[in-house]
């Protein structure tokens, strides 16, 4: 055997070479910026100059004393939890419908997936038009149906604006969750369902006592991604309300953008974004657990 031939057969060398570019990319352009994001939050860096001074906990002290930040933190939690509750209900229900066969199902499926396929920013601008203070088609329809007597300023009033944000987030994520739950349903062994039918379990009993417990891991996956997509999303709030009226509907990403990029205070922007970490850590731990369980189950 020639030495060249041995090199071409050494799996660990080939494997290393083929993996290196991806690792380099991830380490240099995700790992390093990630560390930098945390370092910046302890600095007084601004966008204008390249100066970089240690600021200790000053940024954190500043934002924790800032009612706008505390409001943004609360809004992030409210929007994330609110939309994900809606997503779970809508997705489990939609999956029950879409597992059956019916006329026009292909078209229905196409429409169902539209909200997930459309770019967030374009969906948000469409919803801005739908919630328009003068031309809102929702208001017209509610009024025409006799359900509304006054007027709803969807994006002009804090409570309604948050509700609008929750609706849009749930709207854009439930199709994705539905498809995941459907994938889960199709993997439930048919014998289990049949055994339940033989034992006389009706639709609801089958749903709540047989299928939903089996679906739990899959629903969890859908919710975890939903949490990441909602808690860290900038586009919907930025375009729908811009954080207004009077900074009442900011979420962490929009506030970080306003302070860090528009306001050029990189240190404070970074500190605000760091508060996204708890959301992400919870998600990461839950996912690792699920993955481990799937590994054990596969054996």
């Amino acid at each position: 055997m020639t030495p060249r031939r041995t090199l071409a057969d050494r799996e660990e060398v080939l494997g290393g070479v083929m993996l290196a570019p991806a690792l380099a990319y991830v380490i240099l352009l995700v790992g390093v910026p990630f560390v930098l994001a945390i370092v910046l939050s302890f600095s007084d860096a601004t966008a204008g100059s390249l100066r970089f001074g240690w600021a200790g906990l000053r940024n954190y002290a500043a934002i924790l004393a800032d009612p706008i930040f505390l409001r943004a933190l609360r809004n992030t939690a409210v929007v994330t939890i609110g939309s994900q509750v809606l997503v779970v209900v809508l997705a489990t229900a939609a999956a029950q419908v879409f597992r059956t066969t019916f006329r026009g199902k292909r078209f229905a499926r196409f429409v169902l997936l539209l909200p997930w396929a459309v770019p967030v920013s374009l969906a948000a601008i469409a919803w801005t038009w739908i919630f328009d203070s003068t031309f809102s088609v929702i208001n017209w329809t509610l009024k025409a149906a006799g359900l509304l007597h006054g007027w709803l300023y969807w994006l002009g009033e804090p409570g309604l604006a948050l509700l609008a944000i929750i609706i849009v987030q749930a709207w854009r994520i439930f199709p994705f969750a539905t498809v995941i739950v459907l994938a889960g349903l199709s993997s439930i062994p048919q014998e289990i369902v049949e055994a339940a039918i033989v034992d006389g379990a009706g639709f609801w009993r089958r749903l709540f006592q047989v299928e939903l417990p089996l679906l739990l891991p899959v629903v969890t996956v859908a919710v975890l991604f939903g949490v990441v997509y909602t808690a860290t999303d900038l586009g919907v709030v930025y375009i729908l309300t811009g954080g207004g009226p009077a900074n009442t509907t900011h979420v962490l990403p929009t506030l970080a953008f306003q302070r860090g990029i528009l306001g050029a205070d990189l240190g404070q922007g970074a500190a605000i974004a760091v508060f996204l970490l708890p959301f992400l850590i919870v998600v990461a731990i839950a996912m690792l657990r699920l993955a481990r369980r799937a590994e054990v189950g596969a054996r």
Binding site: Y25, L40, L112, L114, A273
Partner: protein, 278 residues
């Protein structure tokens, strides 16, 4: 009775999911005097065309705005990001699935987890990094940064895809005298084609959808991508050209949705990470 309930529920979901798109469609082709009637006027039904449809807004969008330019910019970024992603993620996925042995799985999961680190956590340091590199306000900044989102997920996709491809074909080639390297260069590419296609489509859709980095790095209108330009630069001051805005949203959404429909099952396999056994 049960069928009725089923169709009613299906209709409900279709209406909720599809109504904003219907609204885009109607707005795109409505005349202004049909469009801008206050919603408190109950005698004017906004859901239908009260006046004949018009192409006025579509002409405005393509003739008098930078929309065509944004489409070109987006396609340029898409092409570059797809090339980078395929060149980096496909070999990495192959390496993890076929060459790395036991730690391949762990490593793959580690790489996948970086996909969970969101742009909104990284845009502050990136804004600094991009200006240090002198790339601010350029498409090159997007071409450099977007692969940080596509590579982790696509490496994971390719790795998962290769699991479903039987090892025997490559094994046979080695028995026939191919070196390990020759197998990778001559035999494996044919086997991975569907996986590569998924990578291309995923990268394409992700670039079309990205908003945060584009908003952070790009400031001049002629450098914008579609997802940034439409909601940010089509709005002039406080004037919203709703017809043109909705036309742009519609023309971008529909092709994306068609592509999504074809590839959804493959993406889902990546997302569920073995929690679903297919």
């Amino acid at each position: 009775m049960k069928r009725v309930a089923l169709y009613a529920a299906a209709l409900g979901f279709v209406v909720f999911a599809g109504f904003p798109f219907y609204w885009m469609l109607v707005t795109t082709f409505k005349q202004n005097r049909d469009l801008y009637v206050g919603a408190s006027d109950l005698s004017h039904i906004p859901w239908i065309f009260n006046d004949p449809p018009t192409l006025e807004h579509v002409k405005l969008l393509f003739g008098q705005t930078d929309f065509p330019r944004w489409v070109l910019n987006t396609l340029l970024v898409v092409a570059a990001v797809v090339v980078i992603t395929v060149a980096v993620a496909v070999p990495a996925g192959y390496s993890l699935a076929r060459l790395a042995g036991r730690w391949g799985e762990r490593m793959g999961m580690g790489i996948f987890f970086t996909y969970l680190i969101p742009p909104t956590l990284l845009f502050v340091p990136f804004s600094r990094l991009v200006s240090l590199l002198g790339l601010q306000n350029s498409l090159a900044s997007l071409i450099l940064i977007y692969p940080t989102m596509t590579i982790p997920f696509c490496t994971w996709l390719v790795m998962g895809f290769l699991r479903s491809v039987p090892w025997e074909i490559e094994e046979q080639a080695m028995i026939d005298g191919y070196s390990r390297l020759a197998v990778i260069l001559k035999v494996a590419p044919r086997l991975i084609v569907p996986g590569i296609l998924t990578v291309v489509v995923f990268s394409f859709t992700l670039v079309m959808q990205e908003f945060v980095y584009a908003l952070t790095f790009i400031s001049s209108v002629e450098k914008m991508t579609v997802s940034l330009g439409v909601p940010i630069a089509l709005v002039r001051g406080d004037v919203y050209h709703w017809g043109a805005l909705m036309a742009a949203a519609l023309f971008i959404s529909i092709p994306l949705a068609i592509v999504y429909n074809l590839f959804i099952d493959r993406f889902i396999q990546g997302f569920t990470m073995g929690a679903v056994k297919g």
